[in-house]
Every structure is written in C-alpha cells, then in structure tokens.
C-alpha cells in the first residue's frame, strides 16, 4: 500500500466509528422506547385531514435545474486539475480555460434567455 492510500485508512476508521455511533443511538432508542401500534399512527400527515392519494407529477423546473447542475459539475472536473497548477500552465492554460468557460457561459446565457431560470 502506498503512502497515498494509507491516509484513507483513517477515513475508513472514521466511517466505521460514525456508522457504529449512529447505529448505537438507534439501537439504544429501540430498547428504550414504547411500541403501541395503532393504525391511525401510520397514516401520512396532512395537517389533520384525511390524506389524498399521492400525486404523480412534480414541477419540471426542478428537473431542469438538476440538468443544469450536471453541466456545472462536469465543468468542475475539468477546471480543478488546471486550478491547482495555474502558474505551471501559464498564460496558455489561462487562455484555454477562458475559452472553455466562455463556451459554458454561452450555454448559461442561452438557458437564461429561454426563460428557464425564471421561476414561473
């Protein structure tokens, strides 16, 4: 195992400890709490009224924002390696990144002009 990966051992210990602690909390609560099942308790909450059936539609705009986010997150994949070596790649890298970000901003401008960023 190289030194690079050894660092992750500590993360692994931390993950196990965190899972263990949350599990212990839930387990302890299981031992302590009362259980008194009644059908009315398992109805979903709608401010006291009888619940209506679940609707199958959500606003499409949420989905569009998720798509937009993917664009900007993939962008980050390309920008991060450049960002930690900006001075090594000098002005050549800078100009290339300016063009790349320019294209991205064009995309954002298109979406904006199409009215997708307006919350109707």
């Amino acid at each position: 195992m190289t030194e690079f990966y050894r660092q992750y051992l500590a993360v692994a210990v931390f993950v196990v400890a965190a899972f263990g602690m949350v599990g212990a909390m839930l387990g302890l609560a299981r031992l302590l709490r009362p259980t008194n099942p009644q059908d009315e308790k398992y109805v979903t909450y709608e401010s006291g009224a009888d619940p209506l059936p679940l609707f199958g539609q959500a606003n499409v705009r949420y989905y569009i924002y998720a798509l937009l986010f993917v664009i900007f997150d993939v962008e980050a994949v390309f920008i991060f390696p450049w960002a930690i070596d900006v001075d090594g790649l000098e002005w050549f890298g800078l100009i290339e990144m300016t063009i790349f970000i320019g294209v991205l901003l064009l995309g954002l401008a298109y979406v904006w002009r199409k009215g997708l960023l307006k919350w109707a």
Binding site: E3, R6, Q7, Y8, L9, A10, V11, V13, F14, V15, A17, A18, F19, M21, M25, L26, A29, L32, R33, P34, T35, N36, Y42, V43, T44, Y45, E46, P51, L52, L54, A58, N59, Y62, I64, Y65, A66, F69, F72, D73, A76, F80, A83, I84, D85, V86, D87, G88, W91, L94, T98, I101, L105, L108, A109, W112, R113, K114, G115, L117, K118
Partner: protein, 404 residues
C-alpha cells in the same frame, strides 16, 4: 511546467508499516473528533437559543443545568423515549437508511479540517487533524454533495406529499448552490496550488506585515469568501435559506414523517453541518489554526505547540458561528424564485468570472508582469463579460419562446 503538485502528507504514515501504536493514534484522533463534534453541537444549539433570546429581549433556556446549558441534552434524551412511527405508505428500507445518509457526510467532512499544529502523540509526529488527505478540498466537495442524498431519500421514502415537495425543493436548492460553492473553493485552490487542507492552511500562514501590504495574497480570496459564506449558508439550509423546512408552506419539510430518535439524527446532522462548514470556511479562508503564539514562552513550549493553534482555530470558528446565529435572528426567509435567481444569475456568474480574474493575477505574478497594469485590465474584461451576459437577457415585455 512544475509537474505534479507537492502533496503534504501526514507524517504519521511515513514510517512504512502500520503498527498498533499508529492505529492507536488514529483511534484517539477519531474519538476526540467525535466528542468535539457532539459537544460542539450541544453547545451550539444552546448558544443559538440564548443569543437569539437576547436579541429578541427574552431569557431563553435557563432551567437545565447552569444557564440552561444542558437543555439540548435534555431534549435529546427525551427523543430517545419517543415511539417511532413509519407511515404505511413509506419505503421502509430507504426510510431507515436516510438518517444515516444525512449524518455521515456531516461527520466525514470534519475529517480533513486542520484543528491544530504538528504535535507528537504516543511517540508519533502527526498533524492535529483526523487525516490529511491529498485531495482534501475535493473530499469536502464530495461530502457536501452526498448530503443531498439523505434529504432527497428521506422525503421520497416517506410516501407523503409535503415531505416529497420539501425534498424536491431542497434538492434543487442544494444543487444550485453546490455549483457556486465549488467555484468559490476553486478561487482558493488557484491561489494555494494544492488540494490538501493542511497545504492550504500552511499557504495562508502569516508572513509579516511587509508581505501583507505588498503581495495582496488575501485580496484575491475576498470575493470567493463572500460567495462561499452565502453558498455554505444555503448548503446547510440555514436561515435565510431554510426553505427546506418552511413550516408555513410545507408542514415540516422532508422530515415531517420522522419521529423520535430518527428526527433527532436529522436535527443533529443539520447543526453539525453548520459547525463543520464554519470549520471548513476557517480552513479555506481564515488560515485555520495559524496565529501568533505566546511570545514569552519558547516556541516549542507545550502551550505554543498544542494549545495556541487550537485556540486560534476555535476563536475563528466561534466568530463565524456567531455570525450565522446573527443572520438567523435578523433576516426573514427568502422567496423561492429569488433564491434560485440569486444562485444562478449572480453567484455562479460572479464566481466563474472571478476564477478567471484570480487565475490571470496568478499567471501575471508568475510571469513578472506589472500587477498594477494587469489588475485593472482583467477586472474590466470580467465586468465587460458580465455586462454582455446581462445585455442578452430578455427585457421585461420582450417576447421570448419559453419552455413549459
């Protein structure tokens, strides 16, 4: 080309083999980090209630323990004794999994935060932080991204309307600000040239007034700092961005159907996120544990090695936490369309253009160009780009074909 960036690794793992004492050091650090986080959450909730009470001319919690300091503990213990109810329409495995998914990122993000300087535990030299990952900054971004899953799945698995609405809304909000958040972190990375949190903190260490006045290293990070604070507030669902649990509109948001201990875990995760984000902001922008030691003691005195860095770290984190409480007490909740507009129309544009500006400044410094000539030109170019972007937006009344 400088090639591969220098990676500052924790000297704990230098020795080759992983012995039991190395494991012991790791275990001690993990236990201390957990204790710190849990006690910090307890004190933060109490402090928040006290400070807001003061600002609203009330007394606040004052019954449990001295000054009511045990109030949070009492609330937590109460929740252990509450009956659980899982709605019959819920997706049970996912419903049970969601609290784990929501609290794990909050814990894990604290892993990479440098709390103190270089110390010696059980005969091992090590940094006072749980782990110094070579990609620490990316780890932070990954964890803040994972936090979305807990909220999304909790709302979806409840099989109920309001939690679903709350979680869809939360997901869109968190994703939107995730983009601005990442770009703000990018501003720091360009200046620091490393992804390791320890490296970033070392890079910001105090060099003396001369370099403060001439190099302007701090000035380039000011805009990302402001963007980071706004985006981090939105990421942690802290007011004024707490639309996730807007009671007037959504009953309770994604955790409406959760009761007892599972609700407590969501609550814990939310406040732990605030503390962890403050610690991350301290690391990225405020120099983490660096600060002056006590001058009248030797530099290798135990107080200067152990206590002073931790003291400076805590002071910085407390200052940020106080500000979040202040904001919580002062600002009303934002409207959803304005929230989205702020994220997409301003924060992302400003952050992306500032990345280019600060990169240009770094390159100019490297090439030896005159900073006083380059800075105005670059700033003007960025402002021009922002202006062009704004000019092609539809005016009020102008007809544009819209998606429906």
């Amino acid at each position: 080309m400088t090639g591969v960036p220098v990676v500052a690794l924790d000297p704990l793992f230098d020795g080759g083999e992983i012995t039991w004492s190395v494991f012991g050091v790791v275990a001690i650090k993990v236990v201390v980090a957990f204790a710190f986080l849990l006690v910090a959450v307890m004190l933060y909730i109490w402090g928040m209630r006290k400070v807001i009470a003061d600002m609203q001319n009330r007394i606040g919690p004052n019954r449990a323990g001295p000054f009511g300091v045990l109030q949070t503990l009492a609330d937590g213990i109460k929740l252990f004794f509450k009956e659980q109810s899982i709605p019959s329409s819920a997706d049970r495995p996912v419903f049970r999994l969601a609290p784990y998914l929501s609290i794990m990122p909050a814990f894990l993000m604290f892993c990479v935060v440098p709390v103190g300087g270089r110390v010696s535990i059980l005969g091992h030299e090590t940094y006072l932080q749980v782990v110094d990952l070579p990609v620490g900054a990316l780890f932070v971004l990954a964890m803040s991204g994972l936090g979305v899953y807990g909220i999304m799945l909790a709302g979806w698995a409840s099989g109920s309307k309001y939690p679903l609405l709350g979680s869809v809304r939360a997901t869109a909000q968190l994703l939107s600000y995730e983009a601005a958040f990442g770009l703000a972190v990018l501003g720091v990375l360009i200046q620091a040239g490393t992804l390791s949190t320890r490296g970033i903190v070392d890079e910001q260490a105090w060099d003396g007034w001369a370099s403060f006045a001439t190099e302007w290293y701090w000035a380039a990070a000011f805009v990302p700092f402001v963007i980071f604070l706004i985006a981090a507030t939105a990421e942690t669902n802290h007011p004024p961005f707490d639309l996730v649990e807007a009671e007037q509109e959504l009953v309770g948001g994604f955790n409406t159907e959760y009761t007892g201990i599972r609700f407590a875990i969501f609550f814990l995760a939310e406040f732990m996120n605030v503390i962890t984000m403050s610690a991350i902001a301290t690391t990225l922008f405020l120099g983490g544990p660096s600060g002056p030691g006590l001058g009248f003691l030797a530099a290798d005195n135990v107080v200067n090695v152990w206590l002073m860095p931790v003291f400076w770290f805590l002071v910085k984190v407390l200052a940020l936490l106080y500000c979040t409480i202040w904001v919580r007490a002062s600002l009303p909740r934002m409207r959803y369309d304005r929230l989205m507009a702020l994220g997409w129309k301003y924060l992302i544009e400003v952050a992306v253009l500032w990345v280019l500006v600060s990169a240009a400044l770094v390159v100019a410094r490297e090439e030896g160009w005159n900073v006083w000539v380059v800075t105005p030109i670059v700033a003007a170019a960025a402002l021009g780009a922002f202006g062009v972007l704004y000019l092609c937006m539809p005016r009020p009344g102008e007809h544009v074909e819209e998606f429906r």
